[in-house]
Point group: D3
Chain length 241, copies 6
């Protein structure tokens, strides 16, 4: 099975990190390839950057289907072009925020998202409303570290543990979702950190890994998004750009 | 007061029609200006076209604020860049789907949207979920006429009446929203058509006019969107395009 | 355009203050008139007073329509007779709690209401449930100052700032609604007070002004409440009083 | 135990019928008394009549508590003054729409209300929203017979059966609530009529009887409405009427 | 009227206490009988014990109907076999969690449940979701005392008062439900304790007593659960045990 | 990876069919084993049978964990003991109704369940409410064929197509879930049947296969249910059976 990870930014190191992380998590027969945007933002931390990334994300997903991959993952918790891409292709297009919220809802009563920046908190509330999981969302919290400073893994993990403890103790979260695909690989450290603080019973979800597993599962089952929900654009459209 | 209407497509006739319609509906002291996209789709009838329109919509709204207008209206029921634009500017950025749904909810128990294409039906359900008005949405129906064929005003009005009657009788709608800004000017004809069919008690909402009145009202009160919900993107972002 | 403000109490100074405030906020061509109740409570701070005010509010609104005004505003966040009045007349009857909650929902993720008395807190939760905006209501807080002691404008503003800060910091409000029409004129002072405390990004809504702008907008568009939701009472009713 | 039924209209025959029906349904030790309004509408079929009935309903309920009754029932599915009365007295004030919807929700998956007039349909949707039972409300249907013509018991029962069948077959109702206290005594006939049509598994609820049983139960347990929800009006209020 | 209380555990003292409590609360003509499980857990404090208790609860409820009782109460806030039993019998089968939540919702804006163990908190959230009362549930709190240690009545009451105060002050509860049928008889002490702490306006609900009163009321009205919701299992089933 | 499928009935042919179906769908490294109940119903088509199956399901799942399997699937859309089992073990316990509803929600706007018997329709509404997906559930329909008559694969597929068409056309479903694990293997036939009827854009979900893929994914990621939601029963419990 071939899965394409679209890294919806322009910074090469994000692509390198993504390739490593997804390859490490892939199942036996899964081949991971990644692609970066030609045009777009260095990171996606606002609806503004989401909008800027959109057109090239679309182009990369269409290209991925042409190259015959079995599923695409947009490597971002925001939604730069994911729903639009589902109109254009027939393969599954995975949005990690959506898959990780649904999987979190399967695992426990309520979940919290611990994301990078306070400014993104309302965005996750909107995501939950859009996909209909508002009731299961205990809270959204932020570590206040921007995407491009996520390299200090120990510091990020420590900040995630602190906010996760508050999510569990104050907001009644039973499951934690790491709120940025750039935090991939930290879930087990955060679980460990929680355990050291006496919280041994809360699963921590890495949204990139969940996205990969859902992509593999859907492709394996021959399932994709409903074209009633995401119908192909009418053919006679003329785009001038 | 100066209000800028961003017509998020590239077809000149859409801009001409918008200028006429908004100017006709404007209050005494309101000056309407319009702007077309340089890059983007001929019409917005899919999430795909929404994504393509996004970047230039943003640029036009930023430009509008620089030119000192008091509010901006994105002339589309879809959402090409509206939420992103609210991050970039301080003036109100009006999304006609949002304002017309809230006004419809003020006027009656439940409303239906009668839009152009069946393919857009789930989109309006998502809009309602996102803004939290799912309970008030009786149904979404479509006349199955694409944007660029809306010029047959009598035919469109007649199709709107037919679908509105079904919305009232079968879906229990108490208010009708015309589901495309390209239907501007038809609300009174549809009300008249309903009256001829014995339905004299259902208001019909023209979303473009409502958007204009809300824009005027917000600008007049000095109110704009919350920057807690739409914070400005962080300054150190570097965009390569 | 002529707009009638029904002041649903019997204290003359409330009427004087309302006339000043609405006249100051009115658009160019709008003529404001006010009317006081002949029978009813000195203020409306309970469902009990709401019920007492009801019959004369109805009479005043029917009279207003006879006199040819274009819209009526009931100058109270409670609902003394508003829904009943919509059955009796064809012009818009504006309920400031309803319009300000919908406008707040347009401006940001969630809003809080800061009202006069703790005893009114459940009432606002019921209002939000009735109009379907429970999800958007972050909290209701109270300054604990009764209507008839709202004359100490500086003291009231200061108390509003204190509670608004708690609404923003503890309840995650992104927009504040002043929870009494007697607080008209204080929105900008509260915004200023919040800014001095480091909260520069939260709009504060004056419900009386919003009610006026919505009344003007609806009358201007020829829109009124759906008679499917508010049908005229059957003619053969005989009332013995 | 003494229970007072306030008949919130002015027609003597409504009081006579209520006295008969409640006395027939009362438990052994329960003594029923009834009272009519001095001022108010002949029937309550609109928010307008609800508002007119309000003040005298309040007066009658306050009087009932002074006379030492254990609970009061407002004999109407509409809400003329019930919530206001709960502020003024400490005994339970029963609103049949509320108690019958909660009991229906205990008995099955979803319920429908079959009321007298189409014009009351949105009112029941609002009641359900206010008390938080929207999800359990399958539909509201009407027999189109006004209160004052409910004397043709066989005709009314037959119309109720017809609408109940549609509620069960088309709207998936599992429980039926008779939507007017004037239909008291017809529940068993409607159940019988449904059984003759092959629907033997749907309970039919008489809201007056349910109100009485809930009144008896609450009084027996020494439970009444929360004064946090319905606090007493502040004492220093001055009412000029 | 004869009411059977099924005590869904195997400890004799639970049955003795239940017989005392229900007999004390029964109305004049009501005869209470109790039955214990032959097989099952000593107490029900987990879904595990709920499942173990299920089969014998069913057998006891079927037996109760055969013996001609008018209604059955399962004496537990958890749900060991209640919904299954409603399929097998035609008499009302009362689940105290369900009836007490509905009655609490009738009495005030929001209620909290104060139960025995922290581990049961999500269970009550699930109960509320299942019966559709999530919006009315302010919070669930626990005293951290297991069922079999509830004999220290003063200690339990004191712990209930402490948690109820937090529910009222921090969670905005207007009504308290005691969250274990083993707490029967403590409601008035908790109300008294709250009053001593300055909270005189919050009703406290004893779920066992409410269950009994609802059982009496339903049996008296000839109402039972809808067989559309709880249809009898098909006859041709063969069970091998 | 080793996955145990607990077939919560006593009919050997159900186990044989399950072993075939799960083995066919398993990923390369996955080893499927199945186990039948010693005590319990021949099929699970009611809450009654669910309750009867519960205790032995628990025993089988505990045994499976002792034998070192990585995840367990309860092969039923009903819930005989699943939530209880999650308390007793640390490995994932998969409930196909839950996983298939969440996956359906990822794939499209709304889904319908097409199950075996009309009597199970409210059960699925309750499942959706419990897991918080009520908004995404378009409808539940039934083919009216009991579990033990599912062997006529062509007849069942044809009935599923008929009901799925109604779900799509009348209930606006965008995704179909087969509502019985005994329908495993029919999803592609139903998709094909829909395509022949002109509905080529609706994915059909086989809940058993989805359960297997989710089980594999969770085990692969080292994720399991939150022990905050499903805490282990207290050790000092004594069970007498």
């Amino acid at each position: 099975m071939r899965i394409r990870v679209v890294v919806p930014v322009t910074s090469k190191e994000c692509e390198i990190r993504a390739l490593e992380q997804y390859s490490a998590a892939a199942s036996g027969g899964t081949e991971i390839s990644t692609v970066l945007l030609h045009k777009g933002p260095a990171s996606v931390e606002s609806a503004y950057e989401e909008a800027l990334a959109g057109p090239d994300v679309l182009a990369q997903i269409v290209q991925a289907e042409k190259e015959g991959v079995d599923a695409v993952i947009s490597n971002c918790m925001a939604d730069p072009g994911v729903e639009a891409a589902r109109e254009l292709v027939s393969i599954p297009v995975i949005w990690p925020a959506e898959t990780s919220m649904h999987v979190a809802a399967m695992l426990g009563h309520k979940f919290s998202v611990v994301t990078i920046l306070v400014r993104l908190i309302p965005l996750f509330h909107h995501h939950a409303a859009r996909i209909g999981l508002t009731r299961q969302l205990a809270s959204v919290r932020a570590v206040n570290i921007p995407v491009l400073e996520l390299d200090d893994r120990a510091g990020v993990a420590s900040a995630l543990v602190s906010q996760s403890i508050r999510a569990v103790r104050e907001d009644m979260a039973h499951v934690i979702i790491l709120g940025c695909t750039g935090m991939a690989g930290l879930a087990k450290s955060v679980e460990e950190g929680l355990r050291e603080q006496g919280i041994a019973d809360v699963p921590v979800i890495d949204p990139a890994t969940v996205a990969l597993k859902v992509a593999e599962a859907l492709a394996d089952m021959g399932l994709s998004h409903s074209k009633r929900t995401y119908p192909a654009p009418t053919e006679n459209e003329i785009i001038s750009n």
